[in-house]
């Protein structure tokens, strides 16, 4: 297969790469939503794809001196090199339909989008900037949860980010949470579930415990569609499931409603 063509992971059809790209990384045949990188996500949402990044000067450390098959320190260096990112999320500010909005976009390529001290700090700073500048904020989650290699420091980021969301509540600043495939563990159990509205892309895996852990605990096979966006919508945990092609227009409508901006 030449590199102009690829196979859809879902429907197994051979597709022209350009067709997928032009369809916002969604399979034109079966509507499967491929994962987006944080820069792709930001470009797709902001007006003319233009935005400014902030907090890019915060780098991860290895406070536990964690070593599994590799040193965490080396893993970090590899991930920085491989992704050209400094961590698993990008903080950005720009306009959506002319409205100034802060977006935190998580990137699964960087250590599975996991939240350690840096992601916790960047999310908190983005929330605090939203508060100070009275700008609405959108967080797009794509993550396996808290980062094990930073231990309990990662766990505490859940409380830190949630506390910052509490401040937005008092100030009346809109916060929209967008959950994409996958959003699990400590991120779901903190900021991802705390939006004024929580929406998800179709068929995204969303949950607290991972499906394998649940299967091992209950020793049963999980029902079809379990922990997918549509399942969460049915169980009252999401406000809506929004296809990627409609996401920007959905966000514009939500922002205008929450900001009481009719025209």
């Amino acid at each position: 297969m030449s590199n102009l063509w690829t196979r859809c992971n879902n429907c197994r059809r051979i597709l022209y790469k350009q067709d997928i790209f032009e369809n916002k990384n969604v399979c034109p045949e079966c509507n499967f939503h491929f994962r987006l990188s944080a820069p792709e996500r930001l470009e797709m949402l902001y007006d003319e794809g233009r935005y400014e990044v902030f907090d890019e000067n915060i780098y991860p450390l290895d406070p536990l001196h964690f070593v599994d098959s590799k040193k965490y320190d080396d893993r970090l260096k590899e991930n920085i090199k491989k992704t050209s990112l400094v961590e698993a999320c990008i903080n950005a500010v720009g306009k959506i339909d002319g409205i100034e909005v802060i977006i935190v976009a998580m990137d699964f390529r960087f250590m599975g989008g996991s939240m350690g001290s840096v992601v916790g700090e960047k999310v908190t700073r983005a929330l605090e900037k939203a508060l100070q500048e009275r700008k609405p904020i959108i967080i797009i989650s794509c993550t396996g949860g808290a980062r094990m290699q930073e231990g309990v420091l990662s766990l505490m980021q859940m409380a830190k980010t949630s506390a910052a969301i509490g401040k937005l509540q008092d100030a009346g600043i809109p916060y929209i949470s967008v959950l994409t495939d996958p959003t699990t563990g400590g991120v779901t159990a903190s900021y991802a579930m705390l939006g004024d509205i929580n929406i998800a892309e179709p068929n995204a895996l969303i949950g607290f415990a991972g499906p394998r852990v649940i299967e091992q605990t209950i020793k049963e096979k999980l029902p079809k569609g379990f922990q997918r966006s549509e399942f969460l919508l049915k169980h009252g945990l999401l406000d809506d499931v929004v296809e990627r092609k409609n996401l920007r227009s959905y966000l514009i409508r939500a922002l205008r409603l929450f900001l009481n901006r009719f025209s």
């Binding site: 450390l61 536990l64 159990a189 579930m193 949950g207 649940i214």
Partner: protein, 319 residues
Amino acid sequence: MDLEEKDFYQLEKNIVKITEEIEILQESEDPERKEKISSLKEEIKQEWNKIAPQLTPLHIVQIARHPKRPYTLDYIENLIDDFMEVHGDRRYGDDPAIVAGFGFYHGQTAAIIGHQKGRTTRERIARNFGQSNPEGYRKALRVMKLAEKFNFPIITLIDTPGAYPGIEAEERGQAEAIAYNLKEISRLNVPMVVVVIGEGGSGGALGIGFGDAILMLENSFYSVISPEGCAAILWKDQKAVRQSAENLKFLAKDLLGFGIIDKIIPEPPGGAHVDYLQTFKNVDKYLYPTLKQSMEKTPEERKKQRYEKIRKIGIIDER
């Protein structure tokens, strides 16, 4: 087999024997039992001095999970007067894995909330091994809000392997229940002090596990994931559980170093399960002044300091 490779139950064999002798003496009519007991206690101390310096993080995990370790209801029975348990989240059901209610602590009404494990097989199953469902977190928050209404302080006791990973827990929003608690706890107007008495298992612990201050018993742990879970994911090998326990840095001394907890509560020689009364005394000795300190602040000061405290946790490289 060297000391390090033995599990804690082998290490404590001699202490268990001496403890049994003490128990027999306490029941006996022996006129010299007082002297005998105190000399046996001295023996425990000496035995412990040999064992303690060589305990690995995995040994501490075993102490924290010891089947004889005091649980939430044991602390309540000893430290709280007129405890009145309340039930249910008013949404779905009552979760026996979290106990919540009101009682007098040093003469002051307080809300007391804690994970509860079972002692017998039947109790363990009934308490779901201390693993809560969303109802548990929602009940806990309901009681916290009641405490706020009456301006009562809140004490939480942490002892859970984690929130329950089950189908229904997910259907009813396990993640949302924990997340919502985190946000609301940060905004409570009343004092809240957390004591980690055993296992601090991840988000399931955190859902009632931060506040104005966190105290930790010497042989407890508070971790992002269990050492077994971490071994399975990162090492893909259950035998790596010891390495995983060493890497996770989840002991009280580690958390004190990271600035996450405020004080370490010492345990009696042999661990909390060897001498319940001494353990309760030690907890009280640290808990009471900590709670009092928080009660002396204005709600605004307290909320501000609680935010600042959680806000500064994390270790980053800002260039």
